[in-house]
Each structure stands twice: as structure tokens, then as C-alpha cells.
Amino acid sequence: MMFFIWLSDWMIPIIILGIIIYGLIKNVNVYEAFIEGATDGLKVVVDILPTLIGLMMAVGMLRSSGALNGLSHLIAPLISWSKFPSEVVPIALMRTFSSSAATGLILDIFKTFGPDSFTGRLVSIMFGCTETIFYTLSVYFMCIKIKDTRYTLAGALLATAAGIIASYYLALWFFGI
């Protein structure tokens, strides 16, 4: 436990320290290189901003329209044969759209059921092994103007489904209901 608290405090400083020292040893003008990279970084931000506006607008509309909740209600009966908690379905759906919204829902679960409940543990595992599909796809593909994304979406959905199913069985296996 202490190790992870230590790790979370030290990881970024150690990476930055290591890179700067290594750069100095290799005779790189580190400050100049940093400024150069940071300039590029700001250009990246400007490039992805329009995509992000379009995406967040659509996700925001989808969230507030109640469409995701409706979809959760449709999915819930399909999985009622398992012990998969129905309150996790909206989180799994939301996770593919927005990381921060999913985090909010997960904190609600912690508040209601506690982080040490089966549901709490399940969402903790699930959050770590999934990613926001639509954000990643649109930012990357819009950046290079790809129109035909081929099997990327199918693969992404499959990997996410595998992650969710694995989380459920691993939570059962490690902690039981």
C-alpha cells in the first residue's frame, strides 16, 4: 500500500528527472528542446480542439437525452441470468464515451455501495481495463483525415466487451459476491 502511495508521488518527477539528467549527459540543450516540444504541444491542442468540441457536444447531448439510461434498461433483462449488477451497465456504456462522466458514476457507486462491495470492486477493475472508444477514434482519425476506419471500431468494441466480461469473472474469482 505504502509503495503505491510512494509511486504515485514519485513516478512523474523521476521520469522528468531521469530524462533531463540523461539529456544533459548527452549534451542536449535541454531547456531549448523543452520549449521546442512545448510549442509543438500547443499546436497539437489547437489541432484536436475542433474534434473535441464536436465530440463532447454529441456525448453531452446523448447523456442528457437519457438515451444511455434507456439503453441500459434495454440491456438489463438480457444479462439478468448472471449476477452482473444492473447498476454497472450504465457505467460500462458511459465508459466508452467519456472517462470523466464514468468516473462520476463510479464515485456514486462507491458512495452508495462502498468501494469494498462486489459492485464497487467490479467497477474498479472495469475502469482500469477499458478506454474511451469514441474519443480515441475520433481524435486520432480526424487528425489524419481517415474516412474508412475499417475494423477499428469492431476491434475496439470487442476488446472492451472482453475487458468487461473478464472484470466480472475476475471479481467473482478474487472476491466472491
Binding site: 509511486l7 504515485s8 530524462i19 539529456g23 548527452k26 447523456r63 442528457s64 478506454e131 475496439a156
Partner: protein, 192 residues
């Protein structure tokens, strides 16, 4: 693809709220979301610039080339179409390592550079190459080893053992990444 997905999301939300009577919320949320996108970019702009700056130092010191060389066997297996010593390799390596360590915002800049380099290798500029599909599917499958954020949330909500999820989380991540790679490899074989 994205064209249809995006239009579907917008049209579907408007139709649904037309039935459920939540049009006011949808309007408010469309407007406020576009504002939060700008806010997010301003806040994250600093972080992205910082990581791009640090990455440039590592690049000039040839640290990134060394990393990419260390990862040659993995990169050969995952991206057989990307030639040795191509710039795409070092950005893919950086992106995967940053993701692995859970530094999401540090992973985006090299990721975008990687895909831009892959586009240079791509024959049909409108159609994603196999390497792009593999790269994005792996990214979406999440290769993060430990979610430090999640551990701190669990701690603040009074978990007795906040780190107990690490082992199952690594296994679940392994599972989703494995499926991702298998699927991408399968599609590669099928479409070649």
C-alpha cells in the same frame, strides 16, 4: 464511419428527448459541452505541452530511439508493415510506454505523431492501414498497468484494502489487450 457515428449520436439524442420531453436539458448540455471542450483543452494544453517538451528532450538525447530498439521484437510482431528505423516506431514505443505507466495525457502527443507517421506509409490516404487499426485497437483495449487514480478514489471512499484490485485489474487488462491483438491479427490475415 465517424461521419455516421457522430450524426447518429446527435440525431438519436434529439429524437429521444423529443419523446421524453427533455429538450431543454439537451439544448443546455449541447451548449455547455462545447464550452467544456474548450476549457478542457486550455487546462490540458499545459500538460500536453509539458510532456511534449520533456519528450523532445528524450528524443534529442536519443533516449526514444534506444527505447524503440529495445522494443523491436514486440514492434516487429505487432507492426510488421512498419520498416525498422522508421520514425513511427519510436512514437508507437513512447505511446505504449506512457499508456503502460498510466500517464494518459503523456501518451496522446506521441500517439498523434505515431499515427501521422503511419499515414505517411499508408497507400490509400482515406483508408486506415492495418498498422493504424492495430495501434488504435491496442490503445483502446487499455494497456495501463496500474490505475493510480482508482486506488486514490478507493482510499478516499474508505476502502479497507484499496490496492486489492491491482492483480485482477492487470489480468483483465491482459485479457482485453490479448483479444484486441488476436482480433487485429485475424483481420490482417483475412484481408490480405
Amino acid at each position: 464511419m465517424l461521419n455516421y457515428l457522430w450524426s447518429f449520436m446527435v440525431i438519436f439524442s434529439i429524437l429521444i428527448s423529443g419523446f421524453s420531453g427533455g429538450m431543454r436539458e439537451v439544448t443546455a448540455s449541447a451548449l455547455s459541452s462545447s464550452q467544456s471542450a474548450v476549457k478542457l483543452c486550455i487546462e490540458m494544453g499545459g500538460i500536453i505541452a509539458l510532456w511534449m517538451g520533456v519528450m523532445r528532450i528524450a528524443e534529442k538525447a536519443k533516449l526514444i530511439d534506444a527505447l524503440a530498439r529495445k522494443m523491436t521484437p514486440i514492434l516487429d510482431f505487432l507492426f510488421p508493415d512498419v520498416p525498422q528505423d522508421h520514425a513511427a516506431r519510436k512514437y508507437i514505443a513512447t505511446n505504449l510506454i506512457a499508456n503502460f505507466l498510466g500517464l494518459g495525457w503523456a501518451a496522446t502527443p506521441p500517439g498523434l505523431k505515431a499515427i501521422a507517421e503511419l499515414q505517411k506509409l499508408n497507400k490509400n490516404k482515406n483508408k486506415a492501414s492495418h498498422a493504424m487499426c492495430m495501434f488504435l485497437i491496442i490503445n483502446i483495449s487499455s494497456v495501463q498497468l496500474i490505475s493510480i487514480n482508482m486506488i486514490s478514489y478507493r482510499t478516499s471512499y474508505g476502502s479497507h484494502n484499496p490496492t486489492e484490485i491491482i492483480a485482477p485489474c492487470i489480468l483483465a487488462t491482459l485479457c482485453s489487450t490479448l483479444i484486441a491483438i488476436l482480433f487485429a491479427k485475424f483481420m490482417y490475415k483475412k484481408e490480405e
